[in-house]
């Protein structure tokens, strides 16, 4: 696809998205749509007055602003400043230069905080003393150090708050804003490359409008959805390949990307839509920041995603340091396909309930943090929970086959695993296998453990079958196959139920073997090696990215994409001898 063709696509999809949003926009993000569609700047000024920050009561109240609003407001000023009336400028200037800016505690928080702050220091050079009591120069220097350090770290170790359907847009919008508006040419160039890499991350696992594979954070109660949040809107904008759905493609946070000058190379859209052949995508991501209740550091995250024409199966070696650490909205694996919300995802998880999973990466007192975190978010401690990492989960994947095992210790109050099955598939049970005909493909799964079928429903969030796989040594074997490869569903069922799963080594000594339809043997030893056809998978040797046409040696800071004669190289100019920015945030 040529640049011209791609730009025309972006124009068309951007307009399709922005027009309805502009009519109802009420957020600082959505205000971009109003102005892009030729709306009244006074309406945007009113949104800024109403939405930007809060001022506590009392004689010394000062505007206090969170990280989302800092970035959203600053991008409005940078992108549309010429159109906005003076009171809007004054309000943003007061909030950003004199207000109390909360930095938050996640990687997306800090990135939005520092990106917005950096742009503000450049926009208002006449402000000598900032709202934090420091000089403008000191404030700008701190923001610059963190942004450049974060880019360098990401290029060397992989993205920390990786592939988050909910928060990836925050990262992307920050880098886009810096690309379009920062004054430092080097920072602008590096931010542009990082924005491009973020789009590439989406493209590599783009699947009919959705983002397949594991996610560091998939929001709360959203991992059974097909299309999630602003990442679905951005996927639609950048890659298309899915019908516009006004009920889904309406997240106002996506608007600044659609009105930005930054546009990714067309090669990435081609990459996202190239589903002619099945492919494996491997990614390495930065280790989780677990800062207590652990004897060792977390190790790098390794993702494996298999994209077939009609389904995608993704899994993760989260490499946590052991119980109780378990990032609360991490989603390690799922099988997904094109379909309506709740009806095209299959996933399981252990609902670890220990409050130590909070205090492993939050600094509150372990004795108080369970109630403190879960009181406003009770679903985090719901025994039916389907999201969140479990320290007891181990898995391996080869192409379209997956083995997942759990050893849940006696002290854990949830001796079971929750398995979610969509209702839209007609399920068949045969010899312990649960088999599904999804039309274009078939799936077979064999729970390891006693099962109880239940229903799970929560308005707007969940609607499907919840299979409780009961026991402390439980698990799942799963394989999916394109229908055209195996013929009829009956053929598939016959093949799957033939003795393929060897549980003679489970739970003791802790080994399960699985012969796949493709003739490969998967061997998973709990807390031991993972082997395919007798050869151990050497996760430590994985590069930053590995996929057809993608090269990224570990630690080099260079990623090369080649597709159909086109070439895209992202060089982040890293110096491996330099110390990296320490990771001080959640992700």
């Amino acid at each position: 696809m040529t640049r011209k063709e791609y730009d025309a696509e972006l124009e068309a999809r951007g307009r399709q998205f922005l027009e309805p949003v502009a009519r109802s926009a009420a957020s600082l993000w959505g205000a971009h749509a109003i102005l892009a569609m030729g709306g009244d700047p006074q309406r945007v000024a009113e949104i800024i007055q109403a939405r930007l920050g809060s001022r506590p009561a009392g004689p010394f109240g000062r505007v206090a602003t969170g990280t989302f609003d800092v970035l959203a407001a600053m991008t409005l000023i940078c992108r549309w400043g010429d159109l906005l009336p003076e009171p809007a400028h004054a309000r943003v200037r007061e909030a950003l230069t004199r207000g109390i800016l909360h930095r938050g505690n996640t990687e997306n928080h800090w990135l939005m905080h520092y990106a917005g702050t950096l742009l503000a220091t450049e926009r208002w050079p006449d402000v000598e003393v900032w709202g934090n009591g420091l000089s403008r120069e000191a404030t700008r220097a701190e923001a610059t150090r963190w942004i450049l350090g974060m880019i360098d770290r990401t290029a060397r170790l992989g993205h920390y708050e990786y592939d988050s359907t909910q928060y990836h847009p925050c990262h992307l919008l920050s880098m886009i804003a810096l690309t379009d508006h920062a004054r430092d040419p080097r920072l602008r160039a590096l931010a542009g490359r990082m924005a491009t890499l973020y789009v590439a991350d989406m493209a590599l696992e783009y699947f009919h409008g959705a983002w397949a594979g594991g996610h560091s954070r998939e929001g709360y109660r959203q991992n059974t959805w097909t299309l999630v949040g602003a990442s679905a809107s951005l996927g639609f904008y950048y890659f298309g390949d899915a019908p516009f759905d006004p009920e889904v493609h309406r997240d106002e946070m996506a608007c600044p990307a659609m009105t930005a000058r930054f546009r990714p190379p067309p090669l990435l859209a081609d990459l996202a839509r190239d589903r002619s052949k099945p492919r494996v995508v491997k990614k390495t991501k930065a280790p989780r920041a677990i800062y207590r209740h652990a004897d060792r550091e977390a190790r790098p995250v390794r993702k494996y995603t298999y994209l077939s024409p009609s389904f995608a199966l993704g899994s993760t070696q989260v490499n946590l340091p052991g119980a109780p650490a378990g990032p609360i909205d991490l989603v390690s694996w799922d099988l997904s396909w094109a379909g309506p919300k709740h009806q095209a995802t299959l996933v399981c998880g252990h609902p670890c309930l220990s409050p130590g999973r909070f205090s492993a990466f939050l600094s509150g007192l372990p004795q108080a943090i369970g109630r403190a975190v879960a009181a406003p978010k009770p679903y985090l401690q719901n025994p039916d929970r389907l999201f969140g990492a479990s320290p007891y989960e181990r898995m391996m994947q080869h192409e379209s086959a997956l083995l997942v095992l759990y050893r849940i210790p006696p002290e854990d109050p949830a001796p079971y695993v929750n398995l979610y099955l969509p209702k839209a598939v007609a399920w068949t049970e045969r010899e312990g296998w649960v088999l599904g005909d999804a039309g274009a493909f078939y799936v077979g799964l064999r729970p390891v453990g006693d099962c109880r079928w239940q229903e799970i429903w929560e308005e707007g969030h969940l609607d499907g079958y919840l299979i409780r796989v009961e026991g402390r040594d439980v698990g799942l074997a799963l394989e999916a196959e394109e229908a055209r490869s195996v013929g009829t569903f009956d053929n598939f069922c016959e093949e799957m139920v033939s003795p393929r799963l060897d549980l003679s080594g489970w739970p003791e000594p802790g080994r399960v073997r699985f012969e796949t339809l493709g003739g490969h043997e998967l061997e998973l030893i709990y807390d031991g090696p993972h082997r395919v056809d007798g050869t151990e998978i050497d996760y430590a040797s994985w590069p930053l990215y590995e996929a057809p046409g993608v090269e990224a040696p570990p630690g080099a800071g260079r990623i090369l994409f080649c597709l159909k004669g086109e070439r895209l190289e992202l060089d982040f100019e890293v110096d491996p001898s330099r110390p990296m920015l320490p990771m001080r945030v959640i992700g």
Partner: protein, 291 residues
Amino acid sequence: MSSSPLEKVWLAGANSGLFRSADGASYERVGAYEFRVTSILRKGGRLCVGVGSGAWEVRDDPDPWVQLHDETLTEVLDLARIPGDPGLVAASAYGVATGARDELGAVRWAWHSDHLSVNERFTNAVAVDPVDPHRWVVGTEAGVLVAEEGGCRWTYSSLMGVPVRAVRHALGAWWAGTDGRGIWTSPDGLSWRKAGYGLDDGTVFALTEGHGRILAGTLRGVVVGDGHGRWRNLGPRALIASVAAHPAQPDLWTAGAAPGGLWVTQNSGASWRQASNLPSTIEAISAPEGS
């Protein structure tokens, strides 16, 4: 309530800001900063707070607070004073750090515990040796470590294998509050023994000294004792994350619950009443300076 100078008042660090009180009972907010205040340090007219997202030097209203953290310091759980400018050692979830001004006047932090293991890095409390400001007794998730030569040399104490949530030098000795193993004492910060009895499996979050007695905040209220005899349990049976004693009024103590608000006793713990106008979670208290 009219505002008194910050050095003359009680200060309480809550999950949503810093609060002051002239009488220890009725509070008002200091500044518009809705940070989670975990620690309060004041001496010689200077007031610094450790907060969930860093550290700040507090200026009285209407002046803005001055940021003391950089892009590496966050999740600060305790502060202690050392010589220099800004003259702070910070205890945080990511370890122990000291600050120095850069050419722009901002504080940049140097980290001294990155080489330690995960639990050894997570620092709940730090106290500076009164005879050697370059020697710090450090309460971590793994136990007590002693940092010498300004953090260049680290030594494991005999109190290891248990999270230590409070460290204090008082009554000529070191005191440590542990998670599940009560209160310990040491002559040098290295060699520890159990202090007192009756709190053997108790969890201690805060320690202070008041007129010859040790006060501690525990999982079930305040305890008081001399470190030799039985610890006496007082007050509401809440998680007490902070305690303070008035320097001039021996029977006036305050205890911060998390949650449960701030409690005041004027009769050495015989009766307690809740302070007003405060959030429900209090993690730090500072008594008025030397009045």
